[in-house]
């Protein structure tokens, strides 16, 4: 999956649309016996690995499920506190699945607003006159592209660093937004987008872009 996700942010910095296209790859399930050799701690309402990186379990990975049952924040599926549960030797051997924590909707909202501010600061700190905000942010595993329209809406796409044609994709998403969200009489401006046709057309535009991108970066 070369295009990971799409975010649409309104003028005020609030997230109005979000679409995820990737499958979490790095999940590891292992059976442990007492005592546990990875050190866990509470972080942001989740239980994460703080020490003891090995075998695909990295620092920062969260506990996703215990004995097959998905965890619920800091508690197991039955409601018991995870750290207390794991301190009790009678609960072993236990099978725990670790992986990168999925972002909750609240976290996505916060991150979208955070990017909205960073975009503006990028423009303020510019050493050149007339700079826009952050249009492309690069890391070693993904590239974030942002297109801000004249009305202040930002379209943000996270993709593989080698994926090409994202600028065209951003313009295409703007077109889809104006066709299926703005022209929808039941849609109010700046509100979360809940239009089926927008979802469908966005998904097909992403598929086309992925195929075209791979074609370009191929042979």
């Amino acid at each position: 999956m070369a295009i990971f996700s799409v975010y649409v942010v309104n003028k005020a910095g609030g997230l109005i649309y979000q679409y995820d296209n990737y499958v979490a790859k790095a999940e590891v399930e292992k059976t442990f016996s007492y005592p546990l050799d990875v050190v866990l701690k509470h972080h942001d309402e989740k239980v994460v690995v703080s020490f003891g990186q090995r075998d695909g379990i990295r620092v920062g990975h969260a506990v996703l499920s215990i004995n097959g049952a998905d965890v619920n924040g800091k508690n197991t599926a039955e409601g018991k506190d995870i750290l207390e549960y794991l301190k009790d030797p009678s609960n072993y051997p236990v099978s725990i699945r670790f992986g990168r924590a999925r972002l909750s909707s609240n976290e996505k909202l916060m991150l979208a607003s955070m990017f909205h501010s960073l975009f503006a600061i990028g423009s303020q700190l510019s050493p050149e006159v007339g700079s826009s905000g952050i249009e492309m942010l690069e890391t070693d595993v993904f590239k974030l592209h942002c297109y801000q329209t004249l009305t202040g809406i930002k379209f943000i796409v996270l993709a593989d660093p080698r994926q090409s044609g994202i600028d065209a994709l951003l313009r295409k998403i703007y077109e889809i937004y104006s066709d299926f969200a703005l022209k929808n009489p039941f849609y109010s401006l700046e509100m979360p987008i809940r239009c089926e046709l927008f979802d469908q057309n966005l998904k097909s535009a992403l598929e086309i872009a992925e195929k075209a991108g791979n074609f370009g970066t191929g042979s």
Binding site: F4, R100, L103, S117, I121, G122, V129, E138, V141
Partner: protein, 145 residues
């Protein structure tokens, strides 16, 4: 092809060094505030990137670009942050920043018994060597009049 300015921050957010070669627009706030804003922005970008990333990252945030400039970022394992703003034609200044760290900072600051780490870098030798190095880069050209 040009380099606008360079910042060096330590792990606590203090700006150890700043120099500009080709800056056309000031930020409109005092230098101290600008350093704090720059450090805060980088700190937030790093945290943003680690949460947003779909896969585990090795190097983390590398650079960002706007319509007029590109900011390159390099962080050492000791928490030292090297930031350089260039124009859009420079695609990868990471090697440059790495060179500045290992061949200039380590040689002239860390190995200098008089320089106290954590304070502003006021070694003349460091400044002049850094300036010479930047001017000798293939992508540096003096500001057009």
């Amino acid at each position: 092809m040009t380099i606008h300015n360079l910042y060096i921050f330590d792990r606590n957010g203090n700006c150890l060094y700043y120099n500009e070669w080709n800056r056309k627009k000031q930020a409109g706030i005092s230098k101290d505030e600008e350093f704090k804003l720059m450090y805060g922005m980088l700190f937030s970008i790093r945290s943003f990137v680690s949460k947003m990333s779909p896969l585990d990252m090795k190097d983390g945030f590398l650079s960002f670009q706007t319509s007029k400039y590109r900011l390159h970022y390099y962080e050492t394992p000791s928490g030292l942050k090297f930031v350089v703003n260039t124009d859009l034609s420079v695609t990868n200044a990471r090697d440059t920043l790495q060179h500045i760290y290992s061949n200039l900072y380590v040689e002239y600051i860390v190995k200098n018994p008089v320089c106290v780490l954590g304070h502003s870098l006021d070694s003349e030798l460091f400044s002049s060597r850094l300036d010479a190095f930047i001017r000798a880069l293939p992508y540096y050209s003096p500001r057009a009049a």
